[in-house]
Every structure is written in C-alpha cells, then in structure tokens.
C-alpha cells in the first residue's frame, strides 16, 4: 500500500514555494503541469481554439496574481480548476449577455443580436451551445462535477483529487446533476 505523500513532496507545492521566492520559471513548471487539463476543459466550454487559449492564459495569470491568497490547505490543482471553472462560467454568461462576443457568434451573425434571449442563443450556437447553456443553469455543485467529468474527461479519482470531495459524493453529484441536466435540456428544446 502506498504511503500518503508528505505535502513537502508535492511537486506543485514545491514549485509554489520557489515561485513565492521570485522564481518565475517555477511558475512555468506549474503551468506546464496543468495547462492541458485546463485547456481541454475551457475548449469544451468555448469551442474555439484561439479564444480557449487566451482564456487558459487568463486562468494562469489570475492564479499568479492571487498566489498570496493560496494557503496550501488544498491542492494547487483544486485551486487552479476552481479558477478555470469560474472563468468558463463567467465567459459563458458574458456570451449570453452579449458583452463578450465569441468568434463563433461573430462568424454566424454579421450583426450580433442585442441581448439575445437564452432560447435564441441556444439555437444560434447549435446543439453544443444548448448543452453548455443547460449545464450553466445547474446549481454550481452539480455544474462543476459534470464539467470535470464530461468536459474535462476526468475519472472520479481525478475529480476527487481536483475538487477535494469524496469519490462517492462526486458520483452522486454526477448522477443527480445528469438528471437535472436532462430536465434543463428538455426546457431548452
């Protein structure tokens, strides 16, 4: 049986400590370790490579600027994925408000519609947009679990590592979240 790792051996925390001493290359190590997972999740929410890359950069910049708020009581991955999920949600909501136009939307409509209704937005962004919108409207506790599982392609063990929640709890959140997602999708049809 594996012994639990000491926090001092956690490579993320080691890099964080060097980072706090001014070593920016240590931050680059953190970015490299988490960039693919963060980008995959964002890309599934955004559906457009350039925009997803820009948002992924935003996530890491925010993490760097808020390093002093990270108290090492949770894993760095928990924290970075929480920032990512928040950024995805903020971006998606700004899309719906029309204040942050997506390239997809611009490509479809030469004139973006003013304050489109959720229904209009779902139709204009297609089936994937409808799924994202339904997911966004779920309570956060279910939205985050489903995002990690189906947008981030994470298994339950990884989700537990990322979120700090127990595996059984996450499974029930996924099951209940799926049931609520189905109802939301029906409403948006």
């Amino acid at each position: 049986m594996d012994r639990p790792k000491s926090p001092s051996l956690d490579p993320d925390l080691e890099a964080l400590r060097r980072c706090r001493q001014g070593d920016r290359q240590a931050f680059a190590e953190l970015v490299e370790r988490h960039q693919n997972g963060v980008f995959r999740l964002i890309h599934r929410w955004v559906g457009q490579k350039e925009r997803a890359e820009e948002l992924a950069q935003d996530v890491f910049l925010k993490a760097f600027r808020d390093l002093s708020n990270f108290r090492e009581e949770s894993k760095f991955s928990t924290w970075i994925y929480q920032i990512t999920l928040n950024r995805c949600r903020d971006y998606w909501r700004s899309q719906r408000r029309g204040s942050e136009k997506s390239f997809v939307h611009e490509a479809i409509h030469s004139q973006p519609s003013e304050d489109p209704s959720p229904e209009t937005e779902a139709v204009s962004l297609g089936e994937a947009g409808r799924l994202r919108q339904a997911l966004d409207e779920l309570p956060g506790i279910y939205r985050d679990a489903l995002s990690l599982r189906y947008f981030g392609d994470r298994n339950y063990e990884e989700m537990s590592e990322i979120s700090g929640e127990g595996v059984s709890n996450l499974k029930m959140r996924v099951a209940r979240g799926l049931a609520q997602l189905r109802k939301k999708l029906e409403e948006l049809k």
Binding site: F27, K49, E53, Q57, G166, S168, K171, M172, R176, L185
Partner: protein
C-alpha cells in the same frame, strides 16, 4: 429500448467506476435517469466529436510574457486612482455598516428543520444529502452559500408543499461547514435550524453544520 438496454446506457454514461449498488442508489434518487441515459450520451458525444487541438509548445512562455508585460505600472494611472479608491473605500464602509445593521436587527423568520439523509458508497465513504430550507414568505429569491460551494450563492427553489419555504438538497461529504442564506441577493442571514451559529470575526453570523 428495453429496461436492460437503458441500464446499459446508464452504465456507459456514469462510467465503469459505478458499482451496481451505486447505480441502484442513483436510480432510487433519480428514477428517470436510465430512460434519459441514451439521449445524454448522444449530447456529450456530439460535444466530444470536436477534437481538442494541442496547445502550442510555448504556451507557458506566453503566460510568462503576459506576466512580464503587465508588471510595469503606469505612474499617471496610479496618481489618478486615488479618488476612485477613496470613493470605493467610503462605499465599502457604508455598505458594511448597512449590512451589519440589517444582519443584526432583522431577525430571520423561523423555518423548517435541517434534514440530513445518509448514503454509503461502495468505497465506504458516506454521502450526506442535506436539505437546506428556510421560510421567507416575503423573499423573491433565496440562496445558500458556504464552505461547500466556495461561498458562491446556490439558489434554493420555492417549495411546492410549504408556503413561503425555499429549499435545496445538496450531497456533501462528512465534515464541518460554515454557511449562510442569502435573501434577495443581498441580505445574509444564518440558518435558524443550524447546529450552531457563530460570529465570523467580521461582524457576520454564520451557521455551522457538522456532518
């Protein structure tokens, strides 16, 4: 589709990590989930059909580049920022006083008790289904925020059975949680049904739930 085929789709949707016992628990909680599994699988498959492209090899260096670019502050911007900061501070102080007054002198309306159901997963971890509920007949919307959702308010739904009651059931792991209700987006009040109500050190009272 036969019930067995529906269940097979559900297994595929939930993943191999779900034991038969956990699938049965999920179906007890959500009896319609098996029938919906096929359609949900299709929804996610459509999303996943778009391959996620690889990131450029210099992604981390681009992040560092943006960090360095944002390091140099503009002196003129700094000098102009004093008055907005003063206004912001005044608004914050005013807001805190108003919030303290409202939290202190407006007693919460007593409501239904906190109810907790327990379930045990195949890995022997307990899951607690906590029903947060509060009676607020005059409120338009009520939410709950706490340690379990990073203090981001989660909306409660009006109860169809109890007049003026808002409720939501959330699955939580064992542990101690601080939380508070948020009424109409601005009024934070503790849960009168909580195990304990404590001062948070900033003038607010939070409820404490021990699972």
């Amino acid at each position: 589709m036969s019930p067995e085929e529906e269940k097979e789709k559900l297994r595929e949707l939930l993943g191999a990590a779900f034991s038969e016992e956990e699938i049965e628990t999920a179906l007890t909680l959500e009896p319609d989930l098996a029938a919906a599994a096929g359609a949900l699988l299709e929804e996610f498959s459509a999303l996943r059909s778009d391959q996620v492209p690889p990131l450029p090899a210099d992604f981390a260096q681009k992040v560092l580049g943006r960090l360095e670019a944002s390091d140099a502050p503009s002196p003129s911007r700094k000098s102009r920022s004093f008055f907005p900061k003063l206004a912001l501070s005044s608004a914050l102080v005013f807001g805190l006083v108003a919030w303290f007054w409202m939290g202190y002198f407006r007693a919460p309306v007593m409501g239904p008790p906190l109810s907790v159901r327990e379930a045990v997963g195949s890995d022997r971890q307990k899951v607690f289904f906590v029903r947060f509920a509060i009676r607020q007949p005059a409120a338009k919307q009520v939410a709950v925020a706490g340690d379990f959702n990073q203090w981001k308010p989660e909306a409660l739904s009006p109860s169809s059975e109890e007049e003026g009651v808002f409720a939501v059931e959330l699955p939580l792991s064992g542990g101690a949680y601080s939380y508070s209700f948020v009424v109409d987006g601005s009024r934070w009040i503790p849960d009168p049904a909580a195990d304990r109500i404590v001062e948070d050190g900033f003038g607010q009272r939070n409820s404490v739930l021990n699972l």
